[in-house]
Amino acid sequence: MYEMDFSTLLKNYPMIIEGILTTISVSLLAGILAFVLGSFFAYFRTSPLNIISKITNFIVLFIRNMPLLILIYLFYKGLPSIHLVLSAYACGILALGLYTGCYISDAIISGINAVPKEHFQASQSLGMSRIKSFIYIIYPQATRYVIPILGNQFMSLVKNSSLVSFIAVTDIFYVVYKGISDTYRIYEYFILAVVLYLFLTGFVLLLTKILQKIYRIPSQEVIV
């Protein structure tokens, strides 16, 4: 009968700690990049200039419909073919950020659509350019509306970060796969990975709930 032996996990704990830290840092940096990129994409996709919105729409569509793994490989293995070699860490963060950014741009656009049109008209009547009214009026409100969706996307980001192990970044999944290959202790490492990812995603969930409470829009609570 299979005997659980958690001491193998303890022996390996420096790598496990490194894995946790790498996952957190990759997720964090990719998350920030995704948020920034998503906001840019959302701005361009709602542009009144047809050509800009069409081009950005197509780019976002293309990236959304391809697997994240292929995107990561494109950065890691494809770019060197055109003489651009980035470190595995950078490739992972860029690919993750780009991929999640496309989903976040969709979320922000739905938030923009939820902001009443009067706000935009009012800001324009005050002489604000489109970009100014976007930054100061529309965008803060749009993001507030969609905090739960953004939280969901960050949860997905943390889970998708496991894919950077394919390009030799030492995150949690890399450590677990290596541990299984070396010691054949499948169940111990699997339980460890489940616990760690549960913690991380649970933490993101908690953060989303807190942010939702802080940034709730009072007008939303009025029953019309």
Binding site: N65, P67, I70, L74, S81, S162, F166, V176, V194, G202
Partner: protein
């Protein structure tokens, strides 16, 4: 830039695409089936069963799919392999395909269960009350009133889940299932034209997903 690499290896790459589509097709059917059951179980709020269903769904949604694929491949599949002659006949004859299908079905079943549950709950409570006032049992209410309306509403989410499933089959390349991503890896490992082959793979995936969304008449932007 030579596209000769792609043209020379096109049969092999198309075989990989076939495997991708086969796995996706089988998985979506099986996970739709189990997802509907699981989702209605959680929705029906039966004392212990709904709690267990909810626990399973939340746990499965918290871990990455690749972890699950590796775990199933290393621990479960060796024991389950070879048990069904029907599956062998259908062309599921390798250990990797077994693991991929089992892992993807269990994983997607949880996501589809959540989609179903949100659809069920979106049907207004007044309809359920009205049906109950007509002395329909709980089961009949779900079967005749709630489920048909819910299924119509959640069609876009289900199609999106199918698209995600097709993309997730690329993860099975980690366990050496020769689907499109792994086939591309094999091609560019020996010929070193990574950029072209990867672009080709990306285009194929995007086209397949576009086709799926068009086929079900959903807006491509979803």
């Amino acid at each position: 830039m030579t596209s000769d690499v792609i043209i020379n290896n096109l049969p092999f790459l198309m075989k990989g695409l076939l495997v991708t589509l086969k796995v996706s097709f089988i998985c979506i059917i099986l996970s739709l089936f189990s997802g509907i059951i699981l989702g209605t179980l959680r929705f029906a709020k039966i004392p212990l069963i709904s709690f267990i269903a909810g626990l399973f769904i939340d746990l499965t949604r918290a871990i990455p799919l690749i972890l699950f694929i590796i775990f199933v491949h290393f621990s479960v599949s060796p024991y389950l392999f070879g048990y069904s002659a029907f599956l062998n006949y259908m062309g599921i004859d390798s250990l990797e395909m077994y693991s991929a299908i089992i892992a993807l079905v269990i994983f997607n079943c949880a996501y589809i269960a959540e989609i179903i549950r949100s659809g069920l709950e979106s049907v207004g409570k007044d309809q359920i009350l009205a049906a109950q006032s007509l002395a329909l049992s709980k089961v009949q209410v779900i079967e005749h009133i709630v489920l048909p309306q819910a299924l119509r509403r959640i069609k876009p989410s289900l199609v999106a889940q199918l698209v995600t499933l097709v993309k997730d089959t690329s993860l099975a390349s980690a366990i050496d299932l020769i689907e499109l991503t792994r086939a591309c890896e094999i091609v560019y490992e020996t010929s070193y034209h990574e950029f072209e082959v990867l672009c080709f793979a990306a285009c194929v995936y995007v086209s397949v997903n576009f086709l799926i969304q068009k086929m079900f008449n959903t807006d491509i932007k979803c």
